[in-house]
């Protein structure tokens, strides 16, 4: 996928580059969040911005998420284009009203006369034993609530294009990046996330899924870290003579149901991989999107590889037991054959 002369970036750098490029051309853009200034973001995604743009546009905030996310809503409605960071998505509990009752609804409440063009970027994911208040994904929670677009990149190319698109969007976009893909070595890093990123500014269309691997026997749908698990499982399955197609959702809202349906229509089998809790979430939605459309395409009941419905445990053995991984995807295929 990478040609010789193409530079690569980590997701952290790709995010920072997209934000910097918009900051250069759009004076309405500014960034707010905890430790996003001199520290450059706990996950590196605002590195270098303070130095180039100064403290007026790159604002460290107090630990006051309700206030600064609410303030972003107000600033966005008043014509600015804030990018705000919620350091861990787990912290949404202290500030969700600003997010789902205002950011997400004010466009609708105002009959479209108010726009809320802001980006809420937030880190997701576990796997490094950070306990149950610092390891969650809660993709489904955000995607469930109407009025906000929700994206989740699995690699640096998408990360940059999605960030640019999110910043240019007139609607609020929740940008959920996985800590294990950031390119911060201390969180471990999935090398597959560091890919070629063009230097020029570009935007991806929000709401398009990607078929990242063609196959004919089973469709594996995932997002973020799960895409990398799915790709590894697909390789393993290939050795067993099974051809797996892998879909990277990229966007949860809008959800590209057509791409999923077309793939399952071809393969007849569906496995959904989601690091979020199993029930009432992304995995159920993907399966429903297929079955309510045309259940006859399925040659076997769909399977999900998702986090069980328990808080995320600290102990390494327990957390790893719960998390999706390539082996569980391969096992899901085997379970489908046995059924």
């Amino acid at each position: 996928m990478n040609k010789t002369n193409e530079r690569k970036l980590t997701i952290a750098r790709a995010m920072a580059e997209a934000v910097a490029q918009e900051l250069r051309v759009d004076p309405r853009v500014f960034v707010m969040g905890e430790d996003i200034g001199a520290l450059g973001g706990v996950y590196g995604n605002t590195r270098g911005l303070l130095e180039e743009f100064g403290a007026e546009r790159i604002r460290d905030t107090p630990i006051s998420e309700t206030a600064f996310i609410g303030a972003a809503v107000g600033a966005a409605q008043d014509g600015m284009r804030p990018v705000v960071e919620l350091m861990f998505v787990d912290f949404f509990g202290v500030c969700f009203d600003a997010i789902y009752n205002m950011m997400a609804k004010n466009t609708y409440f105002s009959g479209g006369s108010f726009k809320v063009p802001m980006v809420l970027m937030t880190s997701t994911g576990g796997g490094y034993s950070d306990g149950g208040q610092h390891s969650q994904c809660v993709y489904g929670t955000f995607a469930h609530l109407p009025g906000m677009k929700v994206v989740a990149p699995s690699n640096a190319y998408d990360a940059k294009g999605l960030m640019t698109a999110a910043m240019r969007d007139d609607s609020p976009v929740v940008y959920m990046y996985h800590k294990g893909l950031q390119g911060m070595g201390w969180l471990g890093t999935e090398p597959g996330a560091t890919v070629h990123v063009p230097e020029e500014s570009y935007a991806l269309e929000i709401g398009k899924a990607k078929v990242v691997r063609d196959g004919t026997d089973v469709t594996v749908v995932s997002l973020g870290m799960g895409v990398h698990h799915a790709m590894k499982a697909a390789k393993e399955l290939q050795e067993q003579g099974v051809s797996a197609e892998v879909i990277d959702l990229v966007s949860l809202v809008p959800l590209d149901r057509d791409t999923i349906r077309a793939s399952v229509a071809k393969t007849g089998r569906l496995i959904v991989v989601d690091e979020d809790y199993m029930s009432y979430g992304v995995s159920g939605e993907i399966i429903a999107s297929v079955t309510e459309h045309d259940i006859s395409v399925l040659k076997a009941p769909p399977k999900r590889v998702a986090f069980p419905d328990v808080p995320i445990p600290f102990a390494r053995v327990m957390e790893q037991f719960c998390l999706p991984n390539p082996d569980k995807i391969v096992a899901a295929w085997a379970g489908m054959q046995a059924a």
Binding site: D35, D309, F314, F321
Partner: protein, 329 residues
Amino acid sequence: MTPSRDQLHWMYRNMVTSRRLEEAIAKIYLEGKTPVFNMANGPIPGEMHLSDGQEPVAVGVCAHLTAEDVVTATHRPHHQAIAKGVDLDRMVAEIFGKATGPSGGRGGHMHIFDPAVNFACSGIIAQGMGPAVGAALSRKVQGKPGVAVAFVGEGAVNQGGWHEAMNLAALWKLPFICVIEDNAWGISVAKAAATSVPRNDVRAAAYGIPGHHVEDNDPYAIFEVAGEAVARARAGEGPTLIEVETYRLAGHFMGDAEAYRPEGEKDGLFAKDPIPKMRWRMLTDGTATETELDAIEVESAERVDAAIKFARESADPAPEDALTSVFAA
């Protein structure tokens, strides 16, 4: 109110035990994380927030508490847990994620819970406030003895939940004390860059309750104001707010390069390390002998060694036990 000789020795013992524990954890934490620092590796994975330097706050307050009093702590809870009397062996086992931890490895170092001494934690900033206020409400409504203390950092005072809880405690005149450990830094952001007033004790006025400020991490002064606050709470006179100027001798978490600190700040803080200061003061005013303090230091180190040994030798939890304890049995 001055601490008795016994109370001073108790305070010193708990400060030293806490420090020895943090030093031991700091070493063990790096096992498996060198040369490549990946948080997921080693016997203690995940984030690690150490309390070195903040011990005086925990002991100065907890010297007035008994097991029946309630404490809620933060993401940086070890010193408070020790001072509150949480069983050290089991606490360290939880930090290691072992089956013998009080949560069987489900919680980890930011989630230490011990009902025997009414101790609980939250890793979310300021979110120990509501539960502490609720415990105080429960005691008042049920006519049961005991006060509730919420330890928070200075950053927590900028959270909405902090103010809501303060108002509730004052409105309902609850036996509640909020103790702010002002270690001057919220990760990389200095207090002055995050908080609109230099001292948070002034915020007590907003709730019509007493506010106290303690300078320079002084365990004696902390003991004194905490004593007043606890007596007031026990007498049914309502809540108190205390802010203590303390020092974070460690980084925000293990591995923090602390590039945001001004040059020389750490050296200055270490020069004011409260443990040697308290030792010197007790020897000077004759409240302890060298032999006594040496014995406390040896015993504290042995106690920590024993707890580490217990934790290391304890079994990992069964992986499938992750699926249990979600609901009350």
